[in-house]
Each structure stands twice: as C-alpha cells, then as structure tokens.
Symmetry: C2
Subunit: 392 residues, 2 copies
C-alpha cells in the first residue's frame, strides 16, 4: 500500500507513519478507542475531566486523582488581564477560529513557564490550555457582543462552566450531561489533520502552545473542524422537511456534497454520531424546536438513499452531522461550533504533543521532513539560466 | 524505499509525498532550485522582491512587474492600529516567535478579505504577510524595549526598511545588499517542517494566515528555525578561538551536537552556507569585530575534523551556521534570528499554501490524514472493560 506512486498527492491517506499509544480508529469496524477504552462506552459514563486524565496520564482516575485534576483545571480557568485586553483589541467581525489561534499564542506569551522544557512542564501547559480555551471562546462571544467576559464559577464542572461563561445562564443538569458527552466524543481521534499538525510542529521541539496554535489553524478548515458550522448553515438553508429532497437532488446534480456525510477513515457510520443523534432529539423536545433534529435525521436518510442510488455505494454520517443541531439547541452560535470542537480536541492534541515530544516510539525525536517531487521543469531538464532584469 | 516499516516513526524522512512546482532540493548534489533557478545564482543578483515574484507568480519579473510588486508591498507595510495595540499588551518577556505567531492570527482578524476564498485573495493575503511580518518583528523589538514602533519609509526597499524599523538607523548599501541576499537564501526550501505544516493546514481549506501561523509555530523549534539563535548562543559561549577545541571535544563526548552542523537533506555542504560565510567575514571587518566570523570558520573546520575522526563520516555546515554571526553583525538581537528567518521564509510558505489550495497536482484537494499504528494494548488484544469511578 505504501508504495511511492500511491502516496503521491493523496494527503498520506492510508499511509501508516507512526506508532501511538493514545487512540485507535478502526474505520472498517467503526471502532474508536481512547487508551484501550471504546469511546462509545466512555460516553455518558465518564466525564470530560476523566477523559483528560485518561489521555494525559494514561489511566482513568480514581476519586482522589479526579479531584486533584479538577482542582488544577479550576485553578487555571481564568484568563490573565493581558489576554483579555488583547481579545478586547480584536475587531468584532473577526473569525472566531482566528481569535482562538491568536489566543493560544497570546496565552503562550503570558505563560511564565514557557522556557521550561520537560514532560512535566509540557503536561502543565497542556492542562492550562484545556482549562483556558473555553474561557477564550466564551470571552470572545461576550466581547464581540459588547459585554464584559464573566468570571468562571468554581462550583461548576468543566462543561457547565463553559456554557455558563458563554450564555450567562447556569445550564440544567441534562444539558450539562449532554454537552459533557459531546466533549468526550470530540476529545481524541488519532492522526486527524489538526492532531497531525500539532505533532508535526512538536517534532521540531517547539513548545505545547506553538503546536496547539497550528492544530487550531488546521481545525478551522471546512474539510476538518469547520464542517460542523457548515452542517448548521446547511440545516438553516434547508429550513423545512419538504425542502430536503430538492436540496439533496441539487447537491448531487451539481457535484456538491452534503455536509456531515462522508468521512476520511470510517467505512460505516461514525460511532460518535449514534450517540449524538439521540441527544439532539431530546434537546429538540426540551426546547420545543424539534425541527432541526428532524431535518437532520430525514436528511441523513435521504442523503444516504440518494447517494446509494446515484453512486452505488454507501455514505456515512460523521461526528459533525448531529453535533450541529445539538450545539444549536444549547444556544451556541453556529460560528462557535468549530471553537467548541477545539475545546474538546485540546485534550487529544495535548496528549499527542507530549507523546511526540517525550514519549514517542522513535529512538530519538525526528522532525517531520518529507520529500517532494519537483515537477516545475521550467527550462527543461537543465536549470534556468539567470537573466538580469534589464534583459528580461 | 517507501515501504511501511521504513516509514514508521522516521518523520517521513526520505518519503516522497507530493509533487511541487515551487522548488527542488537535491541533497546529494547540494543544489537548491527556486522555480528552475539555482538559489546560489539568484543570490546577490536578484533582490528579495524579485524572488517573491518568482515564487508567487512563477516568473522573474520584468521592470514594470517588479515596480508594481514593490508598490503593493510598500502599501501593505504598516500595521493596523489594533495590531499595534495587541502587541503593546504582550508581556515584555514573551518569546518573539510566540509574539509572531500571535501577530499572524491577529493580522487575520484585521484582514477585511478573510472570508474570500479565491486564488487571487490568497495571493493578496500572502503579499500582506510578506509586507507586514517584518513590521511585526521590528515593532515587537521596539515595544519590548519601551520604544514606540517606527513608521516604515516608502523610499527604502524591503530589506533596508526592516533594518531601519528595527534599529532606527538607515543601513549602508552593502549591509542592505547582504541582508537582502540572506533573505533570498532563506526564502524557500521545499517541504521542510514549517512549510509542510503550512501545507498541512492549508489542505483542510483553512486560509493563508491559519497556515502561516502553523508554519511560524513549526519554525520556532530548535530542530528547525530555532537553530540559528542556538548557533549564536554557542558562539557566545565559546567566546574565543582557544576554547573551540575543548568545546568540540566536550560536545562529542557528551553526545551533544554542534549547532549549525548537519542537515536533514544535504549530504554535502548546504549551498547557502558558502554565500553567507563571506558576507559574515566582510561584516566582521566592517564592524571591527572579526571574532565571531573567525570563531565560526574555525569551529566549522574543527567540528568537521573531529566528527570525521570519531564517527568516520562527514558532517556539513547548514544555512544557520553563518547566518548567526551575519545577523549579529547587523545589530539583530539573537532571539530575533528565528523571526528574521520567518520574514524570509514567508515567501516560500505563501507560495506553498497557494499551490496546496489552488494549484496542487492532485485532482482535488486532499487533506493530510495519515494513519497511525496503535501500540497501546492496555488490556491485551481486547478492549479495556469500563469500570465506574466508584470501583476503581
């Protein structure tokens, strides 16, 4: 499989480049493992903080360990004044993912431990980012709406505190539980594009923040994390059940794609989607607005059927498909869906950066430095002769 | 070569992953081509703005094209007030590469065209970054020293304007010529780690700034762009000619490395080093401080000889080795050497991002999504059974 021709210009699809102890995605079986545990088993049973412990410290915590981790995260939740000032200086129309990428680098500038180069220091930086990214996203939502950012509440868990910072309302328990589960399901997914970007940057011995800044940039693309925002835009564009069929037909006729259908790795449905869908359904009932869930589920069926009929093969729902309506029901603005993806995936990014920096399987750190094939041939097989500007 | 076992955990070394029309590095022959032209032929003959034209528009400009490009860059040189305000809010002890990574994302937040998705818009963003990164680096040097950033001078070329913004002195012509040549030599180097990071991010359809932000993060690592700062630290640590031999011996005995010797791709001397060395020598004479060049050249010889003797193979000088003393002679603080690398390499990054986004050889954009081999095996061949926290 990994022969030279099949690799060229295919985005390393199907090419196994490294070993990892963090997670396993079995695309054929539709299985996702976090350090040995099935993600779908963890979802709803273990909270996001437990998953952070599992990913960063390689085990599910006992009660004492969990309390200790919770305290560390709570202590790191607030943002330095200088970070808030910098966010306050951003233009209100800025893309939230640009603000988040800036925010990560600005947090680096404020980290007094930034020159420390040890596994301990890197874990500490990872935990700071896990604690602070939600605060950056929520602060930006407030700032761009002309409101002052809120102070975090130490009595709230990680998921509840974010929803409070964002909406100024203490969310009900069921909503918190659903959001927490969504964070768990988005926390880690092996060498996806953003995680690979983080590892690539860490491989040069750059620090945790530099690597996470790259990951945020990668996640922003619409072929990656940007897709959940695009799913919501699609649902809003469709708007009602009777418009689903014409929409699907038009997309397939114009060679477009139905956002949230199709995945780079899974050959059957994304296991995460089946957990997100019923949460979206329940939130539709709770909010008295079942429409977005209903459009989603009917669109899933119509899209799958139309794809099968026209192309002859199956297309499968991915993690973004039902997270869109779920987040919408929680009052999260659609252009913050991708930043919300980031505040979950930061757990996986941090684990991968630490593995790349300190615990990789290679005998010593090897920076990523692939080769490319030069096809310029501007002057035939020989080099171009330089001509001074006067004679061009 | 590209079989599965040889790829695993080797940072994709020697693995050809994509085609490119931008540049070619022939490590065996020690040749570096920018769009068909030998970099060592261009150096000293074509200025940095000409190279920007060559890399972004695939040809060396004629006089009219060069004048047009110069005007575009001059018009984009200053920083929005909000960007200066955000830089002003950074802690003075921040790492300059963190400030630069933040600066790139903050510039994105201020770009009114950020939502445009076309090759034209992407080129425009690339040119803005080429014009503005020097201003960010120079502004940060002023701000951290408690001085207000300077206004750019439209009558100065790209290289001269940066040195002026940094030092508040109009540099002499020879110094400008040397700095310009250093920018040319650092402008592009195919799929090095930072450029690969930029392409990886662009492959998700993220925008130019998001990709360049990742590249800045990658360049900051000491195995990549961070090395030029480390070379200068090493020269300062050695301090005088008689300490070279003990230094080399100690490094080799403790399994350390001599910064600036060795390269991931070149098997003979880096062709760029041979152009940088005489410029460093001349600047040593001009400034009446020949010591740093002399230590460099003696260290090169001593390091090569000791390496040959102990390890039996050749080690070669790379681009960072003589750029360190050269930049030092120009009055550039050593922790800005890596940002200075960035203000040159931005030309190559921009060209690669555009190629990845719009002009790649693949039939359609393919995001980078490699596979990894899971070696966790926490619970043997089966999945781990979930145990609730009460029973852990």
């Amino acid at each position: 499989m990994n022969d030279e021709r099949s690799i060229l210009n295919t985005g390393l699809r199907g090419v196994t480049i490294a070993t990892t102890r963090i997670s396993d995605v079995d695309g054929k079986a539709g299985k996702l493992l976090y350090r040995g545990y099935l993600a779908k088993e963890l979802a709803g049973k273990a909270g996001f903080e437990e998953i952070v412990h599992l990913l960063l410290f390689e085990k599910l915590p006992d009660k004492t360990e969990l309390e200790e981790l919770r305290s560390r995260l709570i202590n790191e939740r607030s943002l330095p004044e200088g970070v808030l000032a910098a966010l306050g200086a951003m233009p209100k129309q800025a893309l939230p993912m640009d603000v988040l990428q800036a925010g990560v680098a600005i947090l680096a500038a404020h980290d007094a431990d930034i020159r420390k180069n040890s596994q301990e220091a890197s874990i500490e930086m990872g935990l700071r980012l896990i604690a602070k990214l939600p605060a950056v996203v929520a602060a930006w939502e407030r700032i761009r709406n002309g409101k002052p950012p809120l102070e975090p509440k130490a009595e709230l868990g990680h998921a509840a505190n974010f929803l409070y910072l964002l909406t100024e309302k203490i969310p009900d328990e069921e909503t918190v539980q659903f959001f927490d589960t969504a964070l768990v399901l988005h926390a880690e997914h092996s060498f996806n594009a953003s995680t690979f970007a983080a590892r690539e940057v860490a491989s040069t011995r750059a620090h945790m923040y530099a690597a996470v800044g790259a990951a945020v940039g990668s996640l922003s693309g619409e072929l990656h994390g940007g897709a959940n925002t695009r799913v919501m835009e699609m649902l809003l564009e469709i708007g009602s059940a009777e418009k689903i069929e014409p929409y699907v037909n038009e997309v397939l006729e114009t060679g477009g794609k139905i956002m949230g259908l199709g995945h780079a790795v899974y050959e059957i449905d994304d296991p995460r989607a089946h957990i997100l869908a019923p949460m979206s359904k329940r939130m539709g009932e709770k909010t008295g607005e079942p429409k977005w869930y209903e459009i989603s589920t009917q669109l899933e069926q119509a899209g799958k059927a139309a794809f099968k009929k026209r192309k002859g093969n199956d297309i499968n729902v991915n993690v973004d498909f039902y997270s869109a309506s779920l987040y919408h029901y929680m009052g999260i603005p659609k252009d913050l869906f991708t930043p919300v993806f980031a505040i979950a995936r930061i757990a996986g990014w941090a684990a991968h950066v630490i593995e790349e920096q300190f615990a990789g399987a290679a005998p010593k750190p090897m920076l990523y430095r692939p080769e490319s094939e030069y096809v310029g041939n501007y002057c035939g097989p020989a080099e171009c002769a330089f001509v001074p500007i006067d004679q061009r």
